[in-house]
Symmetry: C2
Subunit: 156 residues, 2 copies
Amino acid sequence: MTNDSGSETPGQPLSVDELSDRLRSRGLRVTGPRLVVYNTLAKQGGHRSADEVAAAITAAGPSLPRTSVYNALKALVDAGLADVVDAGPGTTLYEVRGESHHHFICRQCNALLDVPTEESVNGSLYSELPGARVESAQVILRGLCPDCAARPTARA
Amino acid sequence: MTNDSGSETPGQPLSVDELSDRLRSRGLRVTGPRLVVYNTLAKQGGHRSADEVAAAITAAGPSLPRTSVYNALKALVDAGLADVVDAGPGTTLYEVRGESHHHFICRQCNALLDVPTEESVNGSLYSELPGARVESAQVILRGLCPDCAARPTARA
DNA sequence: TCCAAATTTTGAATCTGTACAAATAATACC
DNA sequence: GGTATTATTTGTACAGATTCAAAATTTGGA
């Protein structure tokens, strides 16, 4: 699976102070694992699985139990500091919260690309469910990525 | 997990003949498991996991091996008779192919609701990735469902 | 500094989905 | 209809991802 975890979203990561404030403001404590996981995810950029984050942390020295990585990621998502990437069923991928964007998944090479959000589109997505409080919208585009589309081997 | 598999998509299911034709036209054979799985999924309506389908089949009498349900579901998806629901990472959910629609996931009760597609929105999603061949677009809305939004216990 | 509650840690259990190989059933063709 | 050819079905085994329970630590506030 070419998980192309490369395609990054700019939006500079938060400082430790900002990070701490965000956590506390949601009633969450500021802990080592949470800071390490956030910073690692931010440094890696793109879309990462819990295991990728754990591996990166281990590679950097300390090593954090897998369960702790899961816990920390959940806390970060709760605090709105990271997002679960909607890329279909399967392994859960996370990304540091930054500019709003959508995702494109290539059906041939499985590349996962970020797609900038057109405000106009994004706005119109919020008014379709009466009574509901829609807080976010993610769009999953599927098809052939530029590379695969250009390649003659592309299956129709 | 209140998986609200209830919200159904109209679009009446196909008859055995239509079903058979669709399968054969894709080079797939018409088999018992495929018909049972399709009919069960259609009768249940909404979004179902492989295990839910298996359980429903067992409850109805015959019982089909887990693996067979997975195989059948994959065949149905290949034949375009069913779709994998884009509802974020986790257990794969399937639904009988019907009217195009998107999904709303409640962050509090995990209800999964269908959202009618506005053609205008759907159309504008296809032109954002130069070079790519976009074949489909799914929108996942997240927030609080009407019920949870109305309830005072809703977390901000 | 001290305490109560929130988190982290460990290790194991679960839950999903997939891989394989043998047995079976669906088509194509005679 | 009868039969050869192959796609499918089955059953079992496995691998990976995520969750759980209980004990050990930490955090934030009194």
